[in-house]
């Protein structure tokens, strides 16, 4: 995988703006709820196609998303 994101489940308020922002639809709203009662966003990338474009993190009002990308060697 070129990129991946880590979502802080406890900071997330389930606004789902990242879900709309992801061009590859790799984020879903989870079934579980966090300690505040929100359904946090969840990164689902079984095929490993995330490019680390950061559009999700740009959109996130809670700064709950960290984005990683493979270093070009």
């Amino acid at each position: 995988m070129v990129g991946k994101i880590v979502i802080d489940k406890e900071l997330c308020k389930g606004c789902a703006l990242c879900v709309s922002a992801c061009p590859q639809k790799l984020i879903v709203v989870a079934e579980e709820i966090n300690s505040k009662g929100y359904h946090p966003a969840e990164f689902v990338d079984s095929k490993g196609v995330c490019t680390g474009c950061t559009l999700c993190a740009l959109m996130c009002p809670e700064v709950a998303i960290e984005v990683f990308r493979e270093e070009k060697t």
Partner: protein
């Protein structure tokens, strides 16, 4: 080897915020913190917090800060900047704070060309107090104090702050941006960075108006609220740079 390409800016405290899900404040706070980090000015920055949803901005941004009375942030910033001309001053204000009670203060701070940067968050409503009409509420928009929709006869028209302030000779940089999608957010950050750069270079007064969603106040889920910014706010409040320093003009 994976490296971090996006993380929380250092100038932001790593705490959850009190803002509603999908609120634009979180995005603008982050842009502000990123700009402060990128210019390396956290130890030289003094902020002035408003009365409104962002009254607690000082819980999120790690720099010296004042808590202002409603609308008076530009006056407080003026007092501080006159004492410390080499420090970087910003005010962060909503539509009640800046466009209602604080109209005199913002106009005159701009008119005097105070070398400060104003972040004006326009969500066409009074969020903190429960969703009343703001001077920026658009025609036909329903709020708790115009339940049948804003009508020109009863309530007047929405105020376009960016255009108004751009008529003042004392103003150096006036821009309106939005934070309803990633592309807009990238452009918003560019404008904010410019604004701070102009202040750092002593060029005078800068203001960036951020069109922002207020899902709770507007009574719609976050995704719908971002659409509402696009379809309803931008036609009333066009995006763009309304004033740039002479050195920028062609």
């Amino acid at each position: 080897m994976m490296k971090v390409v996006f993380e929380r800016p250092k100038s932001m405290f790593p705490v959850p915020t009190h803002y509603c899900p999908g609120c634009g404040h979180g995005i603008v706070h982050r842009l502000l913190a990123e700009v402060i980090d990128e210019f390396g000015i956290r130890e030289r920055v003094i902020g002035v917090a408003p009365v409104g949803c962002a009254v607690l901005i000082y819980n999120y941004i790690n720099c010296d800060m004042y808590e202002a009375a409603h609308g008076r942030a530009p006056a407080i910033a003026t007092g501080c900047k006159r004492v410390h001309p080499d420090l970087i001053l910003f005010t962060y204000q909503g539509d009640g704070d800046l466009a209602s009670i604080g109209t005199a203060e913002i106009i005159h701070a701009a008119n005097r060309g105070e070398n400060i940067t104003v972040l004006f968050l326009n969500n066409a409503i009074y969020g903190m107090t429960g969703g009343q009409m703001a001077p920026t509420t658009i025609l036909g928009q329903r709020t708790t104090t115009c339940p049948l929709g804003r009508s020109p006869k009863r309530d007047g028209y929405p105020i376009r702050i960016a255009e108004m302030l751009a008529t003042l000779e004392g103003a150096t940089y006036i821009a309106r941006v939005a934070v309803h999608n990633p592309r807009a957010i990238i452009a918003a950050k560019k404008a904010l960075k410019k604004a701070f750069e102009f202040q750092i270079n002593g060029l005078g007064f800068s203001l960036v108006e951020f069109l922002s969603p207020c899902p709770t106040g507007w009574g719609m889920p976050p995704a719908e609220a971002t659409k509402w910014v696009e379809e309803n706010m931008i036609p009333t409040f066009p995006l763009g740079e309304f004033k740039v320093p002479k050195s920028e003009k062609g």
